[in-house]
């Protein structure tokens, strides 16, 4: 806005203010009604929906769903959209930071003196698109359940590991053929053909990127952890898992020095 536009706005505002009503009691009445509505809505939600307590936090557990509160779903869903490992920082920090900066600096790059939304087509369209996309991402996050069933056909010796994988929340972020969510983590249907068992084991222990570490599982229940590694390593995309996949598996974290050091599961 140049000086003339600024002065014109201030003048017009003074006139509108003169024609307005005093804050007390007109605006305060509306505010009070709204405050009452807010407290009634919160109370009704508190009574109706309650505040149930989930099971106690257990770092050694294998049954959990790492899901944020619903109003952070849209941030979490961005992670599902961005796939390549080298772009993960972009999705986790880059996009939200850019959005925050854009929001913060809005008055400084939107120099249009016009205020009527109908006469600011670009700004109004951008605003509506932002709301729609955030609502859409929130909706995706809400419906993305975490199945606890893996339908892959595996040899009997890997069934135990399959059960561990199904119950350990892997499906919240990884896809196994038809089951699980496609992201933020990569698809694991054929993970055995990409990574050796030792690398898989190492990834489970360190928890690369945003993935939680499974080192507690290894310490508390090493046989379950080994089953899990064996099962994952057996997934090489072939119908019948081959016997030799089992050989060379480092049980419970016996790692080759540099195995999997460049791997993002």
């Amino acid at each position: 806005m140049n000086r003339q536009e600024k002065e014109q706005y201030l003048r017009e505002y003074e006139v509108l203010k003169k024609k307005g009503k005093p804050f007390f009691p007109y605006a305060i009445m509306k505010d009070s009604v709204m405050a009452l509505i807010v407290v009634v809505v919160i109370s009704v939600m508190a009574i109706w929906l309650g505040a149930e307590q989930g099971p106690k936090a257990d770092p050694t557990t294998t049954t959990y769903v790492p899901r944020p509160e619903w109003y952070l779903f849209f941030l979490f869903e961005v992670l599902r959209v961005v796939k390549p490992p080298e772009l993960v920082p972009l999705a986790t920090v880059g996009v939200p930071t850019i959005c925050m900066v854009l929001l913060l600096l809005l008055p400084f790059y939107d120099r249009n003196p016009e205020r009527n939304p109908l006469k600011r087509p670009i700004a109004t369209t951008a605003g509506i698109l932002t709301i729609v996309s955030m609502a859409f991402l929130t909706f995706l996050g809400a419906v993305a359940g975490s199945p606890t069933q893996i339908d892959l056909e595996v040899a009997p010796e890997y069934e135990a590991g399959k059960l561990v994988a199904a119950q350990s929340g892997c499906l919240a972020c990884h896809q196994f053929a038809e089951n699980g969510n496609n992201g933020p983590g990569p698809e694991l249907t054929e993970i055995g053909s990409r990574l050796p068992a030792a690398a898989i084991s190492r990834s489970l222990i360190i928890g690369p990127g945003i993935m939680p570490s499974y080192s507690n599982l290894r310490e508390e229940e090493p046989e379950k952890f080994d089953d899990l590694v064996l099962f994952l390593a057996s997934l090489n995309g072939e119908e019948e898992p081959q016997e030799e996949q089992e050989t060379g598996v480092g049980a419970s974290g016996e790692l080759e020095p540099d195995a999997g050091s460049d791997v993002e599961p």
């Binding site: 307005g20 804050f23 929906l49 986790t92 205020r115």
Partner: protein, 326 residues
């Protein structure tokens, strides 16, 4: 004096214009000295007419008590002129229900603060006892589950209100000159509200909150350069440990509320100082749009104010609302 102004204690009313007084000279509390004189006069009257019913005098005094109290405080603090300016400042023509979203957000925050204090009385921020203290609060404390529910769902309501309030500001163009700074403060408040949600989510210390926080902290850790330090700061070390929960608790109930209260203060100060916007479709004059723009274009800035006769600087007028509000 508007009919609603009578609801205010006399010292907070605007001084009556000359010739408009309703006979009760002195009760308008122009100065606190005047108040004192009035009281003294009344006492004299009472002493002079001893046959008066003592009860009537007590009633008379009791009626004046609120005004006297406000006057007494005002004499020592001088807040009534500020309050009067706050309450009687004019909001622009066309102000509608959309303009209640900000105060609704503020009220949601007040609900969070009050219920949060209640929860803090029972909560133990240690990994060993946190879960049990919530169980006790939920099951055994009177109204415990209700208050915890209010805090839990109040957070969602507050986040929704923050976003709707921001959407209103955006679509009404209310972030433009001269209110850019208030938009910036508002965005910071939005971010702090989201961080509130993130830090508060861990405190119940159940499975959901624990693992969501692990992932959330890992997400912070993927940021270039600063990420790992931020994660270490949030976890109070390289791994999630006993002090992590206390750290989240301190951030959630000391650091962030302090920052939010301070910024809300700045936000409100600017709202009162700059005034709330009028809806963008409301125009100051009823002239046809074309004529108006032509006029504005044609007349130099310096003389433009005469167009309406009241738009720019006025002479001193004690009843002028805008002046009173400054």
């Amino acid at each position: 004096m508007s009919r609603f102004e009578k609801l205010l204690p006399p010292p907070m009313r605007r001084p009556a214009k000359p010739g408009e007084g309703d006979g009760h000279v002195g009760t308008n509390g122009k100065t606190s000295a005047a108040n004192g004189e009035v009281t003294a006069l009344k006492e004299q009257d009472g002493n002079g007419a001893r046959t008066d019913d003592a009860g009537a005098r007590v009633v008379e005094k009791a009626k004046d008590a609120p005004a006297d109290l406000v006057g007494w405080v005002d004499e020592r603090m001088g807040g009534t002129s500020f309050l009067t300016a706050m309450l009687l400042r004019k909001v622009p023509k066309g102000t509608n229900w959309f303009y209640t979203l900000g105060s609704a957000t503020l009220f949601a925050f007040v609900v969070q603060a009050l219920t949060g204090v209640f929860l803090a009385m029972y909560y133990t921020p240690s990994t060993v006892e946190a879960y049990a203290s919530i169980t006790y609060l939920t099951n055994d404390v009177f109204m415990g589950e209700f208050v915890r529910g209010m805090h839990k769902w109040g957070a969602s309501v507050m986040v929704i209100l923050v976003f709707v309030h921001m959407a209103r500001t955006f679509f009404f163009g209310a972030y433009k000159y001269p209110r850019e700074l208030n938009w910036v403060i508002g965005v910071v408040l939005l971010i702090l509200t989201m961080v509130m949600g993130f830090t508060g989510y861990l405190l119940p210390f159940d499975q959901r909150s624990y693992w969501a926080t692990i992932v959330g902290v890992n997400i912070n850790g993927t940021a270039p350069i600063l990420g790992p330090y931020l994660s270490d700061f949030l976890r109070a070390g390289p791994e999630f440990g006993a002090t992590t929960l206390q750290r989240f608790y301190a951030i959630h109930m000391l650091l962030l509320p302090g920052a939010i209260i301070g910024l809300i203060g700045a936000h409100l100060y600017l709202v009162v100082k700059m005034g709330t916007t009028a809806p963008p479709w409301i125009r100051a004059d009823r002239k046809p749009k074309d004529a108006r723009t032509q006029e504005v274009d044609a007349i130099p800035v310096a003389t433009n104010g005469h167009r309406d006769g009241s738009a720019t600087t006025n002479g001193a007028d004690p009843s002028d609302d805008e002046r009173a509000a400054r």
